[in-house]
Amino acid sequence: MPELLPYLTMGFYFGGTLLFLLYLWHRSDVISKISLVATGLGFVSHTSGLIMAMVSMGHVPIMTFKDAMSFFAWGLVLVFLVVGMKRGLEVLGAFILPLAFLSLVSATLAPQSADTLAPVFQTVWVHVTLSILGTIGFAVAFVAGLMYVMQERLLKSKQFNVLSFKLPPLDFLDSLNQRSILFGFPLLTLGILTGAVSAQLTIGSYLSWNSEQIWALITWFFYFAVLMGRVTAGWRAKKAAYLTIVGFAGVILTFVGILIKSPQPMSPL
């Protein structure tokens, strides 16, 4: 039974994804209720899986790429359930659920073998956890940016359809974007610092210039610029939305970087 849980979770998330996408184009609120239920069931099975793994392994399962992606998806769905329920924004599900589902799928497709991170030091733990939480922040910012761009285009082209009705107001999306980055950025900063410390402790050098590290640093500088630009140069609204969409590409490339170097025994960062 426990080995079936991941598939059950995936199934529920897949159903939720389809239903939420359907909800985007239909006026019916019933669809969103059903998809919320599907997502909730998925989240329950996801959480039970995590707890079981925790019990059997004795720690939060994030030390493999697969586990990390699964934890990332779990955090995303949690954010959606909290924000979506609190603000009555079921429409967020149409963007977050596909992302969570794809993360789970990519986790399954990722090479199973040797990507286990050796939890030599406590800092590795902290590094991975912080990095994943930071990434969740950027993912939500990405979703907010995507919704902003869609709503913006609909307003500019004066199309008043179901989609424009369901998407939240621009200023809400802009502030969700900003808050998500403000949440993710400090975590990423700490994640990189603890990663560097771990690297120093394990392989004796803070930085080894592999693709993962390079993308992580580029991503860090990019989001730093986005945050600074908002305050100093008025990089908000439409510009901020586009920037966070581009920024998330950097995040994904960092993940790809992790995958690329994973065949050899994984060094912490």
Binding site: P169, L170, D171, F172, G234
Partner: protein
């Protein structure tokens, strides 16, 4: 006796002229007092809205009354002369005057047909007339009826939906940009009816602040008072733009008041904080090229209509239904007013008495059988004497009081005491009102005072 109206509106006169004739509520007592001081004006009501200035009056002789009302309007403002004013005035009397008032309160004469405010303004005008005792039996009846007609047009046709929905659409669209309107600053440019409606809708949503810029600063102040906002000098329009989130443009200008450059600058100074602009006028006041400015969202009247999905033809049909309702009500009101003349009332009274007398005599003669002609004429004489003596007082009083301030009250009283219906007074020339009490005016909401 005539009911007359003298006035000007958005079709006949410019805003500037209408403004000169505006009388503030606080000075209405003095103005109505001045009106009532004219000999021959028995009742009067002053109706001033953004679109019109009209004086309704009940006068002894129509022609003479119009001249007195002209004199009154000219003297409301020192800079006015009769020559300035006369070409802009329209005059209606009796049926036409009543029909006009009914159309006004049904919002059929408004610039934006179906706008909801005029009904309230008619009510206010009437209440002021009541407070200052310039309204009497006739205006009470006619204006109350006008208000009830206005209400019934609003509830029974969909004429109000268009005006409401277009300005409401503006709010709906604003909510696509701003989640919480309570933190937003609104700038209203110009004083067009639709713009004010849209501003009103936003104010109802509890916006943080309303700024008003108008070429005529005095008018801006008046609007600022109404919206509890702040008037901004028109010359500072550009420098004000960066401060505002929502712009409603509704001036009468035939050119662009807000250009693409203005908005580019404003958005730049706002550090790209979005702006929402509504252009409700035709021709447009906001350069459509503003849509190319990032973070500025401009919508014109057609966009709003598209959002509402309103059908033009349907609206015309609603207006037609409303006109029909008004016409029906005018007919019965005119009949009631005509019945208030002294002479026909006296004639009807005598006729009724004569009929009763004849009826009773016939009954008595039938019962008594054969009578000598001397006996017959004695009985007839007795009946006539009683009837004449009983009627003498009322008839003399009606004749003498008809010309007094309370004349209509006496006539109305006589009609009720002797149960004279319009039918009996005005033997069926026009379709008449059977039951004049069932007019459905929400009387509980209007102060009761019959001017007696």
């Amino acid at each position: 006796m005539n009911i007359i109206v003298l006035g000007l509106n958005h079709r006949t006169a410019s805003v500037e002229l209408r403004e000169l004739l505006a009388i503030q509520d606080s000075r209405m007592g003095e103005a109505l007092g001045r009106l009532m001081a004219y000999s021959g004006i028995k009742e009067a009501m002053y109706l001033g809205t953004c679109n019109r200035v009209e004086v309704y009056a009940v006068v002894e002789k129509g022609e003479w009354g119009f001249r007195q009302l002209e004199d009154f309007l000219v003297s409301t403002h020192f800079s006015l002369s009769t020559e300035d004013l006369l070409p802009h005035l329209y005059r209606y009397s009796d049926d036409e005057a009543i029909a006009h008032l009914f159309r006004v309160s049904a919002s059929l004469d408004s610039m934006v047909v179906g706008e909801p405010q005029v009904l309230g303004q008619v009510k206010e005008a009437y209440e002021l007339a009541l407070t200052h005792r310039s309204s009497g039996v006739i205006l009470n009846k006619v204006v109350k009826k006008a208000i009830s007609v206005g209400k019934s047009v609003r509830t029974n046709t969909r004429i109000g939906e268009y005006a409401v929905s277009v300005s409401y659409a503006a709010v709906e669209l604003a909510k696509k940009v701003f989640s919480n309107l309570k933190q937003r600053v609104v700038l209203l440019v110009g004083a067009g009816e639709m713009g004010k409606l849209a501003a009103q809708h936003l104010v109802n949503q509890g916006v943080k602040e309303v700024l008003i810029a108008n070429r005529n600063h005095h008018r801006a102040f008046m609007l600022a008072e109404r919206f509890h906002g702040q008037a901004v000098p028109y010359e500072q329009l550009r420098s004000t733009l960066p401060k505002v989130d929502i712009v409603i443009c509704a001036t009468g200008a035939p050119h662009y008041v807000i250009t693409k450059d203005d908005i580019e600058m404003a958005v730049y100074h706002r550090m790209n904080r979005p702006m929402f602009l509504i252009d409700i006028t035709v021709p447009r006041n906001i350069d459509p090229a503003v849509k190319d400015v990032d973070n500025a969202y401009v919508f014109d009247i057609d966009d709003l209509k598209a959002h509402v999905g309103q059908n033009q033809e349907e609206r015309l049909k609603e207006a037609e239904t409303a006109e029909h309702m008004v016409r029906e009500e005018v007919g019965s009101m005119v009949a009631w007013v005509r019945g208030l003349e002294a002479t026909p009332t006296i004639v009807a009274l005598r006729k009724k008495a004569e009929e009763i007398k004849q009826g009773e005599l016939e009954k008595v003669f039938g019962r008594l059988g054969e009578l000598s002609s001397k006996e017959r004429s004695a009985i007839e004489g007795l009946a006539s004497a009683i009837v004449n003596k009983l009627l003498h007082g009322p008839v003399v009083t009606l004749k003498s009081e008809a010309q007094s301030q309370n004349g209509f009250a006496f006539i109305e009283a006589a009609r009720r005491f002797f149960e004279l219906r319009e039918r009996e007074i005005h033997s069926g020339e026009i379709p008449l009102l059977e039951d004049e009490t069932g007019d459905g005016v929400s009387e509980e909401r209007l102060p009761q005072k019959d001017g007696v």
